[in-house]
């Protein structure tokens, strides 16, 4: 348990006495960093959260936006520490949690995205072999956990990322985003209104798994004894989760549920106190009515257990029979465990004895810290390092090496293990800039992506975090959609270290500014601190989950070259900006340099041009230029449909700078030459033509599309130790 002496004193003031064991456990989990956001709240409150599309902003189970006449719920969560301790179950239960968050808003979950970050794989030779082998084991386990859990739920996994940096060896990041849909009037807040209403607990029995997970795992750093924390990881049962989804939606549609709340971090204690606090009510809970997996569970265990696949539903007394009948239909455990009161107190009894009696609202009203922050000394040193004056001796070989990097290579080995098609809504499938989904009940479609460039954020948290938002914006725009909102998952090291706190403050400030300019308000988010093992923190990794609206009648274009003879155009202008690039990392072994500049006004202006061109139907292909620069974008465009291109180099830069710089706000498009003028006023360069079966960059490199495709498609499976299929 992780309360400080000050926090303990505060509890004594609230209660007017010393807390007993159960109460102490309740405050300990509820006031943990994970549940209380005690180090981050004062910074997050400045994020812009209003906009024409926003129906429900931060503070609820999920953010909700309006698309046409329906509601779309979005939520991004982390399950980093459980996944490091036990990758299969950690990743699986992460999905379970975010799905229940969306469900608690009254929405049916319709898509998942999984942004994942790991330490380097064995083939990269970047870290000790045993460390790399463990990284490989984690990738295998996390992907398999997502596959087994998400697929069973019948929710398509349509996107995400898999990236590798040395810093994640001791602390991988497993984030998961869920999208849900509902009619607007079906959206609800998870509240326990109406004294006299009954409190139902649905789903799995409560066991000793995950006790104190939020404080033991999520709010502490790792040391050598990480394996000892395995009992704090929960075990997932996707079948029960699927039944919960169906039963809860059926209850909500039948008008039987006053409020619905999932049991996630801090379990029953959190769900009961939060729902009561939101409605300014109280609640009496009888622990004897909680179905359990094993005998002799103590009150603090029942209250803080994080056993998965459980939901709390508030039901009027007259509707209890009908609600239980729905549970019986779905063969789901359900029991009445208590009643809403008007006392404001959360009163918990066992064997007829009161075991806890605390003001419900006080559990959620945790301490607030303004922690000190200091700019790390190494930032200036790294920024001054030279990453440009080392051109590769052979450019073709360098390109092949780059596209074989697990960061760049195709991740089909990953997403082919995910059901990305169920629900028949996936219009644009994984493997491209963003996914596009049909929305039941709407004519517009939803574009969705997750993005973070952690190397940029490491070298410059402020500018880097702006890039994260801008790149997500570019991903969505490349499909012809208009970004409308974000959610986020802010993964950082320990907030108790001033350098980490500085990174956090810089990143949050930048996200707020970028979202304001780009017109994408923040609908919610998650903060995951303490991502470090020993004294090594991860790179600051603010993962942005962005959604955009693709209006009816606009057809997204593929990212690859489709038509022989089309001209190839780079929209935007390439600068010598190799700092923080994939080139510097993979070919020079350096994470250093000054990261690219970013002009958000230009970002919007060029995206407007791209969207207009897609709406006019004049583009044959469209792809955003990001990791690996123009060269990688060209490879991906060639490999996509097996078409070559002849490209004339621009000569304002050295070849490697021109090819591999990760200058912002650029797109690679192809179109008929006669339509060039219709693109309108925008800075662009005609690079060449789609033709033949070879990527020819005149005077620099020539590689057949077959060879490029072989590297690009097979490298990841090979790095994972599998022979290419």
């Amino acid at each position: 348990m992780t309360l400080t002496a000050d926090e303990f004193e505060r509890i004594k003031v609230i209660l007017g006495r010393e807390p007993n064991e159960a109460e102490l456990a309740m405050y300990s989990v509820m006031w943990s960093e994970h549940c209380s956001y005690k180090s981050s709240r004062i910074h997050l409150k400045n994020l812009p959260s209003h906009g024409p599309h926003v129906l429900v902003g931060p503070g609820e189970g999920a953010g909700v936006i309006r698309v046409d006449d329906i509601a779309v719920a979005i939520r991004l969560e982390s399950h980093n520490h459980p996944s490091f301790v036990e990758p299969v179950q950690g990743a699986a239960t992460g999905i379970g949690g975010v799905v229940r968050d969306v469900l608690s808003m009254g929405a049916r979950p319709i898509a998942l995205l999984d942004p994942l970050r790991f330490g380097p794989l064995p083939t990269e030779g970047r870290v000790e072999p045993e460390v790399a082998e463990r990284n490989r084991f984690l990738v295998e386990g996390v992907v398999s956990g997502i596959s087994s859990y998400g697929n069973c739920l019948g929710i398509p996994t349509v996107g995400g990322e898999v990236t590798f940096e040395d810093c994640y060896s001791g602390n991988p990041l497993v984030n998961v985003m869920c999208i849900g849909v509902a009619s607007i009037d079906a959206i609800r807040s998870a509240t326990a209104e109406g004294p006299g209403n009954k409190v139902l607990l649905l789903g799995s029995k409560t066991g000793r798994d995950g006790i104190g997970g939020v404080s033991v795992l999520a709010s502490a750093t790792f040391d050598e004894a990480a394996a000892d924390k395995r009992p704090s990881v929960q075990v997932g049962d996707p079948f029960t989760e699927k039944l919960l989804i169906e039963a809860c939606l059926e209850m909500m549609q039948a008008g039987l549920a006053v409020g619905v709340q999932d049991l996630g971090g801090a379990g029953l204690c959190c769900a009961t106190s939060e729902t009561a606090a939101k409605a300014s009510t109280g609640m009496n809970i009888d622990l004897d009515q909680v179905p359990r997996r094993e005998p002799n569970m103590q009150p603090f265990e029942l209250l803080t257990s994080e056993s998965q696949e459980r939901m709390l539903v508030i039901v009027a007394p007259a509707n209890v029979g009908a609600a239980l009948a729905i549970c019986e239909k779905w063969e789901l455990n359900a029991s009445v465990i208590g009643e809403v009161t008007d006392t404001g107190q959360l009163v918990v009894t066992q064997n007829g004895m009161v075991v806890a009696d605390v003001p419900a609202a006080s559990l959620g009203d945790g301490p607030l810290y303004d922690r000190p922050a200091t700019k790390p000394a190494w930032i200036d040193v790294l920024q001054d390092e030279d990453v440009t004056s080392h051109p590769p001796t052979e450019m073709g070989k360098a390109l092949l090496e780059l596209i074989s990097s697990p960061n760049i290579a195709s991740k089909h080995w990953v997403w082919e293990q995910y059901d990305h098609q169920v629900m028949l809504g996936t219009v644009v499938k994984p493997g491209v800039d963003a996914a596009v989904l049909r929305l039941p009940g709407a004519k517009s479609r939803l574009a969705v992506t997750t993005d973070a460039n952690a190397r940029f954020c490491f070298l410059d948290p402020y500018l880097g975090a702006k890039h994260c938002v801008a790149e997500a914006y570019r991903n969505i725009s490349a499909l012809g959609a208009t970004p409308v909102a974000i959610t986020n998952c802010l993964n950082f090291g320990s907030p108790e270290r001033e350098e980490v706190m500085w990174q956090f403050i810089e990143a949050v400030k930048a996200i707020g500014e970028a979202c304001l300019v780009l017109g994408t308000p923040v609908t919610g988010g998650n903060v995951s601190f303490y991502n470090e093992t020993g004294t090594t923190a991860i790179y600051p990794t603010p993962v942005i989950g962005m959604v955009g609206v693709l209006a009816e009648g606009i057809e997204p274009r593929p990212m690859g070259f489709m038509n022989e003879g089309d001209v190839v155009v780079c929209i935007g202008h390439t600068e010598a900006e190799l700092g923080g690039s994939e080139y510097a990392r993979t070919l020079l072994g350096k994470v250093a340099g000054r990261i690219p500049a970013l002009d958000l006004g230009l970002e919007v202006a060029r995206a407007d041009v791209v969207r207009a061109a897609i709406a006019k139907g004049i583009l044959s292909s469209c792809h955003d230029i990001s990791e690996g620069g123009l060269a990688v974008a060209l490879v991906e465009a060639c490999v996509f449909a097996g078409k070559g291109a002849t490209i004339h180099p621009e000569n304002h830069l050295a070849a490697h700078e021109w090819l591999f710089s990760e200058t912002a706000s650029r797109y690679l498009v192809s179109l008929k030459e006669k339509d060039l003028d219709a693109l309108g006023e925008v800075e662009m360069t005609v690079l060449g033509k789609v033709e033949g079966d070879t990527l020819v960059i005149e005077g620099i490199l020539e590689v057949t599309v077959d060879e490029l495709a072989g590297c690009y498609r097979d490298a990841f499976a090979k790095a994972m130790g599998y022979h290419a299929r």
Binding site: S147, S148, N151, C152, L153, G154, D237, P238, F239, T240, K242, L243, K329, W330, E331, H412, W415, E416, Q417, Y418, D419, H420, Q421, V422, M423, L424, G425, T426, V427, R438, R725
Partner: protein
């Protein structure tokens, strides 16, 4: 006349909505039938959709095979009514003894979700009558246990009786004799691992799966 199709729902089914969407797209009149219901009167065809009935616990399809509705499906099949089991539906039909053989874990021990080519081996079934033998259809697979297996005698019988309906062009899961789909001795019960309902609406996955449902909806087995 619009065909009424029963789409069976077990706890854990998750492709029932997709089957309904696909059938509606093709002009049929699909209805969900919960696994505890036993009344299939008035239906022209039955679809046992994919998913993870009972969480795949014990064995894929093993628990659903004992659901009340399975007796009704058996009766429906005995009278010649067309029944198609897709993915988990195929596994359930095998467990229930309506089709021979079993589906084992994929040879690569990985879940696989991707479009595959399957070849129509016979058009003498209610599900392929509108296609041509040798046609290649692109239909997605989505399974961990799709590796068809049966004993030698059964395989011989399936071959002799022209009951192998689809074979993979490039076997994705190690299935015996590249088998992707088979029919019962009466030819009116089809089990297949690929998901034709995912290849009906051109907006999301092509149209090669249409022929299977269209054939089924075109009339009763003569």
């Amino acid at each position: 006349m619009t065909k009424r199709v029963a789409v069976i729902v077990f706890p854990g089914s998750n492709c029932e909505q997709d089957a309904v969407l696909a059938l509606r797209y093709l002009g049929a009149d699909p209805h969900y039938v919960f696994h505890r219901d036993t009344n299939l009167a008035g239906f022209d065809a039955v679809v046992v959709p994919g998913g993870f009935s009972y969480g795949d616990y014990l064995r894929t399809g093993a628990i659903a095979a004992f659901s009340p509705v399975m007796e009704s499906i058996r009766d429906f099949a005995v009278t010649g009514g067309p029944v198609v089991g897709i993915c988990n539906g195929f596994q359930i039909l095998c467990e229930a003894g309506l089709l021979p053989g079993a589906l084992r874990r994929n040879a690569g021990l990985k879940f696989r979700c991707l479009p595959v080519d399957i070849r129509v081996e016979t058009n003498e079934t209610p599900f392929t009558r509108m296609s041509v033998q040798g046609d290649v259809l692109e239909v997605p697979i989505n399974h961990f246990e799709g590796n068809y297996y049966c004993d030698k005698g059964t395989l011989q019988q399936l071959e002799d009786e022209d009951r192998i309906v689809f074979r993979y062009v490039n076997n994705p899961n190690g299935a015996l004799a590249d088998i992707a789909g088979i029919v019962s001795a009466g030819r009116n019960v089809l089990g297949m691992m690929p998901h034709p309902e995912r290849a009906v609406d051109p907006a999301v996955g092509g149209t090669d799966g249409q022929v299977i449902f269209s054939s089924m909806l075109a009339g009763s087995l003569a």
